[in-house]
Symmetry: C2
Subunit: 255 residues, 2 copies
Amino acid sequence: MPMDRSEPAPRSSVADETPAFAPLYRQIKALMMRDLQAGVWRPGAAIPSEKDLALRFHVSQGTVRKAVNELAADNLLVRRQGKGTFVATHAEENVQFRFLRLRPDDGDAGRMQRSFIDCRRFAASAEVARWLGLKSGDLVLQVRRVLSFRGRPVVFDDIWLPGKLFKGLTGERLASYRGPLYGLFESEFGVRMIRAEERIRAVAAGAEAALHLGVAPGAPLLSVERLSMTYGDAPVELRRGLYDTTAHHYRNQLS
Amino acid sequence: MPMDRSEPAPRSSVADETPAFAPLYRQIKALMMRDLQAGVWRPGAAIPSEKDLALRFHVSQGTVRKAVNELAADNLLVRRQGKGTFVATHAEENVQFRFLRLRPDDGDAGRMQRSFIDCRRFAASAEVARWLGLKSGDLVLQVRRVLSFRGRPVVFDDIWLPGKLFKGLTGERLASYRGPLYGLFESEFGVRMIRAEERIRAVAAGAEAALHLGVAPGAPLLSVERLSMTYGDAPVELRRGLYDTTAHHYRNQLS
DNA sequence: GAGTGGTCTAGACCACTGA
DNA sequence: CAGTGGTCTAGACCACTCG
């Protein structure tokens, strides 16, 4: 059987963290990830069929299938029986905001409005630089906004982005874009959010947050700090959301 | 090939929610789930090898493999290469508390102490009955406790359990048991927590919570309401935790 | 070494989609 | 109808664990 691959099995040499012998399907997965990251396969578009991929990589269909399954489990690909396999995207998702876990206490969603407060750029503070993996003093973009459910403000977001990645981002651009923020990041700046970590605490509302959310200063708010990562776990967004949880809650599934 | 199964494919008749044609491996999965629920395979014990299961169910090894993989993904089974496949258990887990997402702000864990406040039984309020799927007035058990990290109280838990399932549970029994609460539920009462939903909000500390957590009344606390389910998504525990998040945070992974 | 789960293959057939 | 992903099989071989 033709066992020659375009890229031979990476038998790692000295002590490194990754296991020395990666199974074939993980090597295929890594190759496909490379194409995703490089934008060879664009968000929303179909990737080659399993049969084609099997031919291209000189492996059996079952092996590419395992690779694709893992990428789908990682939410990088979406399988659609009878149609094909597609690159996942934040742009045209049924669920408006994939990473937002806030839900109204009564199930019924009832669409959500955004309003942007400002969009400024300045030198990163030491802490923001640390989280985003920048040098202190690097250019950083700050976006602030409010989300409202049924006309009532519920979320006050403070977002920091590396200036280098979001060069042309302005307040007008934000205001005019339809759809999720991460959809804009993806289509306009080629930055795709893959995964995020959130740290949640309860805090007392400061003057500014109280104003924007229409609550009394000192009222308890949910503080949600989110660090979003793109390919290779590189951090590309830091966000601090303050949620008014009097009529909403943060929902989480444990298993 | 012998295509006779002990249980024929369930071709469902009239309109029901579940898909009419379940693939073979899902039928196998359902059969295995039955054995898990019935306690035929006990927590921590090894289940038969894939080869044995394939013979028993008259399917190929690849098919039982798919069933087992899904059960492992659901955290009902644990695979250990070279040793076998085991029934998951809360009792002997590395991670002390599998469902507790609270972490100290500095990573380092530093073990955790429990102290039980009381354990009472009485008639369920309408709301508790609703969450637990009981009739209002059914017997309910209430457990209250405090968790401390490094000597400082951090979590004040209020736990409700259906009286019917936890007949012999007493304060002494709770105090003397080593290991996670869910381990005790599993070994002593045969109640296995499979999955849970949490609703998180920010609240102001009441008098009692302030006392137990050593914070000022009115201080912001994280309120974590958890509904835990056993097999068949039957709710078996309602819990309301109040977390002091001045030096800890609730951590969540998004993807 | 025997027994377990993990990988890989090759091929048959099914279920779904859209032209 | 052709093309896609989804299921199922049978068998070979590998990697890990333990006596």
